[in-house]
Symmetry: C2
Subunit: 400 residues, 2 copies
């Protein structure tokens, strides 16, 4: 890694088939030189390396102090390089949302000749073909999967028969209703089936309160977290009473991590967005302790047209950032407003006191970091006005 | 290309660094075999090859009959393979929105040893570094660019000095206000500057009525198109009166193409979405003649959780499709509703008469095709239940 000093080799091992990109080559030739950030073709994701590392270290310290394991969710950054930074800081492993993300990251880790990594896929699989891919991947990493249906156990058992053992967790619905069993009885059935399968190992439970992450107001958020953890505790009690040890209780997110720690039910935190933060989290968390992480990710964009009154047009539109969480803010210009202006452009309002010129760069706080990162092939790591590294969004588009 | 008969070689030349994707390899091994569409890991973009080719041929026939040149916008598909199908059908060239798209597509065309392609970049560039990339690219394709500011001419002139000539069009604001000059005077200034630059050639004008494409109701849409074409005609008259021949007048889109033809101002159509269509166009165009193109693109998704009453959870969420244009529809189940369920999942409502099981595949009509395609690395080309080819989204994520 190129965490300090002058960088001589970019972390582009995982840059996906883009070696012949003239725009990339131009910046790589100047990497590490002051002012090189102005060479990055826009729209582009920039990440302040010191803020990123500060976030990674702060979350690790928080987890260590609480005696809880940290398993950051790589669905936020999808980058093997950033996952490696989290692992080097003390994370026990990583989460991914989809199997194809794990496949891409493991390939990148192997290319780096790094140690075997522990990976949890946090979404249930739902067919035998996927279970077979999981069985193949389990030979290349320490793989854990979640299930919320007896048929999921049967598929994993069939796919792994005679192969390396797979760790299986029971996914619990903690109020979101998206995936997971709805109470202790189906959890008991799943644990029993897993333990009866020679090639599976029952690892514990997962309960992710996605609905609680962006609840504004800490008391309301705490109430949602308490309710979610109560549901997890009820399932854990039933499982352990029936003789199924629940080693791992994994869950939590950036919006609720500190509250989850207070509850004391989880053994493992799945936080993801804390590495970058975004406008949506900033709006929801305000001055709450969960908002102590730095806004490290920005979207750099360039003014491309200035022929109208009251606004300018920039080169970042629907294709450059997530659109599910409203609009980005313009750093340094809180009175200015951004609006999407089609797939390829955005509109930024101007005023009598501020009207950026053609060619000027503006920096936006992305509305929602995870799906914004997934729009980009690379993240430029910066210090002040200098590009110090570039990392691939290794698992970009791997939603399957 | 693999347009007919049994396919023996996939068009994966441009599949971006994904050769080691186990999910891809599994399908390629069965490509051309009946039932192979069920092997495609979901979420996945499927495109019905016969419908795609039908759309390409129908639009070409329409343009030919009207005596207007067809320059399809590759920002919709971002695929070198699909662009090649359009060129083989008779298109004079392609459009792209951004320079990096052109760079990626030209690299793919070169790898295929195809003929030199004519490419128009439809967004103005706004700095010298981009102009230099354009000058380099002009050695590899017949490149046209648009400008809407005198400084854009100066940058292109400086970047190309002594190099291959670049064709420059004046971009006209036809009512959208996004880019373009606002009337004849700045257009005259730009044409004069272009003609004074030894390495630039004045090619004509562009006027794109993005605001008219999704106007519901053909009379309202016609009114918007008429107004846009009047603005183009006014600039063209001024330019030609001043001795600047306007060879090319390029513009139009899928929602207005037939109306643009009726106006008779444009010499070249930039239609893009007609290759795929989407839910947004279907809603706006209803039974209008512009809606005669087939819905060829679908998003395949799998039911992954069935533990709740009234809905199931599928594996396609915010990261798998555009979210700016509402939600997709569920093919074959018009009473069912889709809702986004976070980054990685969706919710599909069920009823007493229809409740799909865990593992079942559902097929969605994407809400907005262009930014949906940009979420995916590949498009699976199908006939009935058979994968007959897979094409790379060559310029995916190339928004810079």
């Amino acid at each position: 890694m190129n965490a300090g000093g002058k960088v001589v080799r970019p972390s582009v091992g995982g840059i996906i088939g883009e070696e012949d990109d003239p725009a990339l080559a131009a910046v790589l030739g100047q990497m590490g030189r002051p002012g090189s950030v102005d060479l990055v073709p826009t729209p582009a994701l920039l990440c302040d390396l010191d803020l990123l590392d500060g976030n990674i270290e702060a979350m690790q310290r928080t987890a260590d102090a609480a005696g809880i394991a940290l398993r950051p969710h790589a669905k936020s950054h999808k980058s093997a390089s950033i996952a490696r930074r989290q692992l080097d800081a003390g994370a026990v492993g990583i989460c991914v949302a989809k199997l194809s993300e794990a496949e891409a990251l493991v390939t990148a880790f192997e290319a780096d000749a790094g140690p075997r990594v522990s990976i949890l896929v946090t979404s249930p699989l739902a067919h035998l073909a996927a279970a077979r891919r999981a069985a193949a991947l389990a030979r290349r990493c320490d793989l854990s999967l979640v299930v919320d249906h007896p048929d999921g156990v049967a598929e994993l058992s069939a796919a792994t028969d005679g192969g390396d053992p797979l760790t299986v967790l029971c996914d619990i619905d903690v109020g979101l209703g998206r995936t997971g069993v709805t109470g202790p009885d189906p959890a008991l059935r799943i644990a029993t089936l897993v333990e009866a399968a020679p090639s599976l190992r029952f690892g514990g439970v997962q309960g992710y309160a996605g609905h609680a992450q962006h609840v504004a107001g800490r008391d309301l958020r705490r109430s949602s977290v308490d309710s979610a953890n109560d549901r997890i505790a009820a399932v854990v009690d039933a499982l352990e009473s029936a003789g199924h040890p629940v080693t791992t209780r994994t869950g939590g997110g950036t919006g609720t991590g500190l509250l989850d720690i207070e509850c004391g039910v989880l053994t493992e935190l799945q936080v993801g967005s804390y590495v970058f933060m975004d406008r949506e989290y900033r709006d929801a968390l305000g001055a709450d302790p969960e908002a102590a992480f730095a806004q490290s990710l920005t979207l750099s964009t360039t003014v491309i047209s200035t022929n109208q009154t009251g606004f300018v047009t920039v080169d970042a539109g629907l294709k450059s950032m997530a659109t599910d969480a409203g609009v980005p803010t313009v750093i340094g210009h809180p009175d200015s407003r951004f609006a999407f202006f089609g797939d390829e452009q955005g509109l930024v309002t101007t005023s009598e006191s501020w009207s950026p010129g053609r060619g000027q760069r503006l920096y936006l706080v992305p509305p929602h970091c995870d799906p914004t990162v997934d729009r980009h092939s690379r993240i430029w790591l910066t210090r002040d006005d200098t590009v110090v590294d570039v990392v691939a969004v290794t698992a970009r588009g791997r939603s399957y």
